[in-house]
Amino acid sequence: MKKTLAVFQKEIKHFFYSPIAYIVIAAFTLIAGIFFYLYLSSFVEAAFMDMIRSQQFRSQPQRFNINLQLIRPYFWNLALISLFVLPLVTMRLYAEEKRSGTVELLYTTPLSVGNIVLGKFFAGIFFYFVMLIPTFIFMGILFIYGDPEWGPVLSGYLGLFLLGSAFISGGLFISSLTENQIIAAIGGFGLSLLLWVIGWAANYSGPGLSAVLNYLSIINHFEDFAQGVIDTKHLFYYFIFCTFGVYLTFKSVESIKWRS
């Protein structure tokens, strides 16, 4: 446990000592900010137009639900940005140790593979959390000027967090297979994208396969969270997903260690 923490802390240092971390956070915040602005302005515009219309025709103004019409699509948006950005976070996690030869230190000191893999996995999640912090401010703006419901915001973040963790577990696995960070990033992105679009393929396949593909699709399980529903079924899915990703990393480290 203490050793896992040592690996975790070391990874956090690597993140924040390198300019890439700040570039990634800045890029994520910028893109998330632009989309937030676009969503917000179109929401405000729609609400404003409706108000004018209702005055003209002396009808009841429609009720605009900020949770449904702004926050929910915005969470989807954040999920999509995460898909693109997280491979940049996971790419160096293992590949860099292999390239620089520091695996020799890790494998010849009394560290278990579990200490190494879990330390890195949680460091990735921590970094993702830090990356999401600026978006709390955007949400804060909505709470200052409107009165959205709390529940869906919290469940949305939970979903985002779980989805991100799943991406990180997959990205970590890919990173453990190579010593090239670029390959690790592309591979991590490819895997995440595949798991994302697998649900679309479900539309074109037979009923049996379609159910399987729909279940596997990483994003289908996100939907309920974005809507404000926390279903244990989905919690379970992400939990299993992360466990499996970490397990594969564990196995790949062990087997590569055995062969190299």
């Binding site: 070391k10 000592y17 620089s100 230190l105 494998y107 010849t108 009394p110 200490n115 055995w258």
Partner: protein, 312 residues
Amino acid sequence: MIEVRELTRYYGEKRAIHNVSFEVQKGEILGLLGPNAAGKTTTMKILTCYMPPTSGGAKVAGFDIWDQPMEIKTLTGYLPENPPLYSDLNVWEYLDFVAKIKGVPAPKRKEAISVAIEKAALGDVQKQVVGSLSKGFKQRVGLGQALLNDPQILILDEPTVGLDPRQIIEIRELIKKLGGDHTIILSTHILPEVEMTCGRVVIINEGEVVAEDTPGNLTRRLKGSERTVLEIGGDAKVASEVIKGFSEVQKLDHRKIDKSDHVRFTLETSTDIRHDLAKAIITKGLNLYELRTESYSLEEIFLHLTTKEEVA
């Protein structure tokens, strides 16, 4: 303390080491000597439980590399060929991380790191980022890492590579000082290093152990390890015939010495015939300028053992 039994390791089809066996006693400094690609690093990686052998086994401090790697890793400090450094951490942070993963408890950590810094002479650079250090300092950070937590067993892969001559002497002194309390295996392809620091040497070539002894014995064991050198003035042909007249002479070389009519003969003999040789040369009216014996350096023995050429 360390028992190596018939280690064999393949990388795919390529055989890196074959049936390597040797032992190291407690407190001994063993030199693993061999040219590049001999299999020194491979042997060390197996002993530190970085990777398993294809076949064979080893015991380190009584623990088996197959069954008890964690125990071995706890007792062993390892300096890999390329020091495993994180270039973005500073020296202290790096050693702090190493102390943590070696399981040094928090209250003792500071002390342990200070001791390692002291031994590896890193005091002046401890707040410097590892990536900005010179090659010599990086090597010493790697050494500091290996020495951290004062492990009983040290495995050092070419510890003096990349250091300047003064640092090399310092590191050798340090290694010698560590022997006694510590059991040390160090690898090198530099002969004087073994002669200076090691109590015993295992010579390895193309993956196989070709000799194992003390540096002194190794020299002695190769009989004919002495040769006679003569410097003679006068007719070289006559001199050569005189020498060849002795049946004890097994091998003879001669080389003209620049800017004189002197010739240097180097010969190997089955028994000591110096006195007869001297008499014979003088009675032939030749001038004897020098007559001495010379022992083979470890360097030549090494060359002999690794190229399979006949020395004696």
